[in-house]
Amino acid sequence: MKDLYTKITEILTSDADLRALVGYRQTKDVPIGLEGLRAGESEMTIRRGFQTEGKWKKLVSFYFQADIVMQDFSANIRDLPLVIAIYDRTSDLNLFDISERIIFLLDESNLDVSNLTVKNKVHSYGCHYLGQIQSPTYDVDLKSYMMSIRFSIKARKEL
């Protein structure tokens, strides 16, 4: 799971177009976790986990939901639902541009991370876009337009 997060972060943050679309300007290394978030929260607009605090205008946050065992095939292969929540405080139309870019980057992308670590190898067999969970709507609590999209990742952990 950790390796998959690393790979997805790498894909999303290494794309110049997506960085420009969400105003991701973070260049310095900051500590991991809450401390890191506080150190550069306004620049860190592509975030792992459901973290919406801070002063941002646009935000992409991605996280996995609980994995699902594929009972009819093998218990080792799991379906990992990846949810990407996109926020924009200025316009709801930007949400479509950002989501289209993310779909372009992640749909059918190679997330195989078996070469990253020696132990706990995770093989990914595909990342597919499943559709919108929420069409663009206004989040009153966060005072921002938002939408969520979902991907499905089929992965196997080598035991």
């Binding site: 939901q65 379906d79 709507t137």
Partner: protein, 117 residues
């Protein structure tokens, strides 16, 4: 190359056309209710039930769209349902559909096999 006995299957299916349709429809309906029940279970398990409004509203149904298409639906009409579905510990509908669809498919196949015996 020729296939023997295929005409018999087609004739049998034509004979039982209406029976097959109603059997699939009822099995599908029961399957959709099973998925809805599973979704309610996940809502409760993940502590997403406060008033019970969302839990009560999750429903499943099957309907005949055309002569050859039977459609199953599970869902809710509560406006905040997508928020709960998108939460990190959400995914109650997706999870229940992914878990139960193979079971529903198997039930439909078993029913069809019994009818075409």
């Amino acid at each position: 190359m020729s296939v023997e006995g295929f005409d018999n299957v087609i004739n049998k299916m034509k004979l039982h056309e209406e029976n097959i349709r109603s059997a699939v429809l009822s099995t599908m309906g029961a399957g959709m209710n099973e998925i809805a029940d599973r979704a309610k279970f996940f809502l409760t398990e993940n502590h997403h039930v406060k008033t019970g409004n969302l839990r009560r509203s999750v429903k499943g149904e099957a309907r005949q769209v055309s002569l050859t298409v039977i459609e199953g639906q599970v869902g809710t009409n509560v406006h905040y349902a997508p928020y709960v579905e998108a939460l990190p510990d959400g995914g109650y509908l997706y999870r229940s559909v992914q878990e139960k669809i193979p079971v529903v498919e198997m039930k439909i196949v078993t029913k069809l096999k019994a009818l075409l015996k």
